[in-house]
Symmetry: C2
Subunit: 174 residues, 2 copies
DNA sequence: AATGAAATCGACCAGCA
DNA sequence: TGCTGGTCGATTTCATT
């Protein structure tokens, strides 16, 4: 059995086509979708609903431009913690809850956490780092400025390698 | 003048309230929104449209659960490039185009690029790293496994520090 | 910028393969 | 289970303020 796919519901090509389309842009009429995919409106509606029930589609959200809020500065911060504390779960949640921090990863290796943050100014970044080091158990931090972000595409379906796509369409555990 | 806000269109509290709501969940009726925000349905609709025209709302998208595709493995890869090549822009775009890579950051410092990738298996990660080192100009890579992701909330409005929020509502450059 | 009415579109349901 | 076609309610559009 392919362990990586144990949670995957069975999807066919039409489901994948719908997902690829709506993951990039949901602001489209059912009718347009139906024409593009060459199925009926009702069928699209039925499948989209099922994908929502399945949890494959976690939600419909509006993507907001960070620059519209002046959030022009991105930083990557490595954070190491004192291991005797052992509260990595708690520290991770505390980090993720800080204003300005977008993502927190707990990693294997010397550095324990990697945080990606987005702020308006260098002052706000300094303030954020102060708030990070003030967290109990945080040992050391080291930040890098991001000069350029490439294609902040977070599209799952657009990132599937061919092998991964094949695994979904023809699961070994069916 | 507050340099960080030069691109910010003027937003009022109602706009912010709409954005906070729809950034987390757009799958809501106009009526519900109107009740929650205590404005008329038409007004909500008008403002949402304006925010789309403004570019503040970049788009409406479906969020897909990576686990539904068996994408259980996340890695952070530091990538250094040979500087005589000078094609960092091109390398960044090439990296971002690789299947499996979600985000690419070009940073200041020893490490030139940081890539976040999401794959189904260790094999796929090895394959991805092979594809990275095969890129012309790539010098060295070093990857860390992510053991846990904390609150992958990418919500701009939820991450604003109070100062940042105040900057938007009462811009110094108005 | 916001409204209300008219036109359009999507959600839901009973029924069918 | 997956889909059809039709009805009703919701949303979009637009003239108007």
């Amino acid at each position: 059995m392919n362990d990586a796919l144990r949670t995957a519901p069975d999807l066919d090509e039409t489901d994948l086509a719908i997902l690829e389309r709506v993951e990039a842009d949901f602001d489209v009429s059912l009718e347009t979708l139906a024409e593009e995919l060459d199925v009926s409106k009702s069928a699209v509606h039925y499948r989209v609903n099922k994908l929502k029930d399945n949890g494959v589609i976690k939600g419909i959200t509006a993507d907001i431009d960070p620059l519209a809020f002046g959030l022009e500065m991105v930083a990557i911060t490595d954070i190491s913690v004192t291991h005797e504390s052992g509260y990595s779960e708690e520290i991770g949640e505390t980090l993720a809850a800080l204003d300005g921090i977008e993502q927190v990863y707990y990693t294997m290796g010397d550095v324990d956490f990697v945080a990606i943050s987005r702020v308006q100014s260098r002052d706000q970044l300094n303030d954020l780092i102060d708030r990070i080091v003030a967290i109990d158990g945080v040992n050391e931090t080291s930040s890098r400025f991001v000069m350029q972000e490439f294609e902040n595409k977070r599209e799952i379906t657009a990132n599937l390698a061919e092998e991964a796509r094949n695994n979904i369409l023809t699961p070994s555990n069916q």
